[in-house]
Symmetry: C3
């Protein structure tokens, strides 16, 4: 694909680019690469200070640049093709989509799939080998279910949703349209509810259900439990990474992002656009406001005010955490100073007593 | 079901209830709900200060109350049906069981299951589609094995145990009666044992086995390793949540509870009734006494005395941890105070020198 | 097997042993056991101070001892057979291999496996029941693929590699020779890459691939993502425990070891022989030098110098961490001392003012 075709397909023809001064500079592009690994015939992008220096050295033939005249001039001087835009990473994502077609198995139902006759199948579904679908499931149009997935009874899978290999959807779960459930994830399993009776743990029946709204993405081997009563709900466009645990009755807002190995205990609530770093944990009934960001490994509990950026366990505002954690390593010295001061003050007290008449 | 029927089935007829003063107040109950989400025709329960206020506002028709005359009077005044008991949550669990029947597939062996002819099958077993059972497994009576489970050779599964979809039971594993293994869990896999020889890691054969005693519950995608020699053992009635890791040779006592994402390294021992919060970790050879409770994210090592409540990493008694973590955020101020004091003391020292003859 | 046969097979005939003074002391050995659980007819090993005392009490018939004349004399006095070597644990590993044959299913392709006709199969492969292999996979010689594994298209599996039950290998993944992927692991799944557009997260295509070099071992339910462009790579002989997460574009050096529940965010790099304890996390773009060791639960970011031993979050040199964490619990007392000093200094200041003329 010519560079000029990419500019056109990304709808960037009205942006600044090398095509106006140098229309003949229109290399054939065959791949999208990171700028540090660019080769002739590839297009890359520059975003952030760290990568700026690569404009002078990259071997990519074309660049998606930020709106920075200096970088643009530098790219022109090196004979590179370039186009600029406010968010080059978005251009990169779109360019990638021009070159990369995700694997899409042929539609149709594999003869080894075991599908109960009560199951309602939408149009144009893809159901892989050895899939098992129990009674009363409703599968939407254009759904793709990869090999060895198991779907328990009385579930619903929305249009265009993809379930990757070996994941398990438990009874009563409802998954919206345009969701992606990655390999090995388990959704709607029994919440962890027991009651101690005469020294033995007895299970509380887990009669509730789990609901994923539209455009939710669930990472590999992530687990989302259902509650004893009521719902566990993940609102639209929320994205969960691998090995995340979401406990019973959690109510997760829309467009949240949780990195790998986050764990939410029962009844955690979040508003929208919450971002949790890797290995963050939240205690039972934690309530997290809109746009909160929690650094990796933070331990959350109670109420976290909207817009907060927190770190540490228990979590504090990130400035406080950064200051305190910097001092943490000086604790031995602080303790030493404290002892010195105690001695000095004791000496002063003696001296003053001596001076007093 | 009438409210009075529920009282009878829960064996609460001798407890205080609204039925004695108001026998005609006997609503038809169709579901169990949390008190905050109650509607006409549902029964809820009240336990703990947080929920007490709902007696005045809930729209549930019936309540399971604690032994508190004030709440009981308030419920009577609002025209609600109620029954009281020492542990209302236990009443709730029992009431749920009256209304909710967990999914139970039809007994029988699905024709797509691949079962070695040496396998011994008990009476009335349920074996789902695409299950694979390798040689010399012994499957007890009334066992339910869901779709796509794989059982390696020379294993035993006790009576009435349930293995959910896509879990894997490795060679030599023994699982007791009345256990539940949730979807995607892996039991009896090779311990993580290597030895460094001339700069390369060489595997130590993992010839031991994993044993789960009766009534053990293993969460989704949880992993329990077997050792190089000897046993990894989980004693009766212990409950593990999702994504937990139990290392080789661990010896876990009876009736313990481990929340999601707990990780135990090799050779960890616990006594009974240990409770570990989410994301707790324990180092190699940690020894944990009876009734220990560890807060979420605690890091355990060495010996933890019976009955301790610990938090933090490395774990400390919880009171110490709470005090210290509260002060942690004041470290910058403490450091500032320390510098001020140093200056003040230096000034005092000079002044005293001046005063001295 | 006679004790003398074990000495011969372990190639220890030139080492010091009980066979020279007592050639007739040559018990029949039927198993390898931990020294604390030894019984007649078993062989055990002694390594480390903790286990030294067992020489006096073990009921094992034979011991692999360190090069310690005192222990050797003690074993001789008790009538035990023994052989000494520099690394007794290595002898133990080798002795185990003499007695334990890991489960190896019969070679051949199970009739229920679904293998695309474009797949290239090596010689002597074992493919279990219900395995699914998508188009254009290349499977090496002597590969063993256990039941219910799913392999997406355009992958390569090296000679003698073992894929345990229910694991998933995603498109474009390349796995080297002599690797082991344990049950439930997912390799080459989509990296967690989204870009926020008008308040909604939009997926960045994940067109890269994941590469495992030779002798890599991947634990149960561990997940390794592929990147949007480029490669995620694990170099030869690196060993990952269960429930580990490796993010997109990570470049892991050779002969590293990561304990259970370690999580690496995107673009983490390590040199060789890095050892990460359980639940360690590393932030985006962390760069970890050769031979670094990180204690359990450490939080890594930035650059970690080769040979460092670090602990804590954020991670510090372990000596600093141990000192600071010891003082952490004395923070309440330090705060109290600080207040006392403030009062004492104030009093001194007043007294000096009074003294001044």
């Amino acid at each position: 694909m010519k560079f000029s075709d990419i500019v056109q397909q990304l709808d960037l023809t009205t942006e600044k680019s090398s095509l106006k001064p140098f229309p003949e500079r229109d290399p054939e592009i065959t791949a999208v690469t990171p700028v540090q690994a660019g080769t002739a015939g590839t297009i890359s992008y520059i975003e952030g200070q760290k990568f700026q220096a690569y404009v002078a050295t990259t071997e990519s033939s074309a660049l998606i640049l930020p709106e920075d005249p200096e970088m643009q001039a530098q790219a022109s001087d090196r004979g590179l093709a370039w186009v600029s835009m406010a968010e080059p990473r978005w251009g990169f994502a779109q360019a990638l989509a021009l070159f990369y077609q995700p694997y899409q198995p042929h539609p149709g139902i594999h003869p080894t799939a075991v599908i109960d006759e009560s199951v309602q199948l939408g149009k144009n579904v893809t159901i892989g080998a050895h899939v098992v679908i129990h009674p009363d499931a409703v599968i939407g149009d254009d759904v793709c279910i990869h090999a060895n997935v198991v779907i328990y009874p009385q579930t619903a899978i929305g249009d265009r949703t993809v379930l990757h290999a070996n994941c398990v959807i438990h009874e009563h779960t409802q998954i919206g349209a345009d969701c992606v459930v990655h390999s090995g994830a388990v959704i709607g399993s029994e919440g962890f509810g027991f009651i101690l009776r005469e020294g033995r743990w007895v299970k509380i029946p887990q009669s509730g259900r789990t609901i994923l709204e539209a455009e939710v993405e669930v990472g590999c081997n992530t687990t989302i439990d259902r509650p004893s009563v009521g719902e566990t709900r993940i609102q639209a466009n929320t994205k969960l990474d691998n090995l995340v645990h979401i406990g019973h009755n959690c109510q997760i807002g829309p467009s949240c992002v949780m990195a790998a190995q986050v764990g939410l205990a029962g009844q955690v609530e979040t508003a929208d656009h919450v971002i949790l770093g890797g290995q963050v944990g939240a205690a039972n009934q934690t309530s997290i406001g809109a746009n909160v960001q929690a650094g990796a490994k933070a331990g959350l509990h109670g109420k976290i005010a909207p817009g907060s950026i927190v770190m540490g366990n228990p979590a504090s505002p990130y400035r406080t955490f950064l200051k305190s954690s910097a001092i943490y390593n000086r604790l031995p010295q602080m303790q030493h100073t404290l002892k010195e001061l105690q001695q000095q003050v004791a000496t002063l007290q003696q001296q003053i007593e001596t001076l007093n008449p």
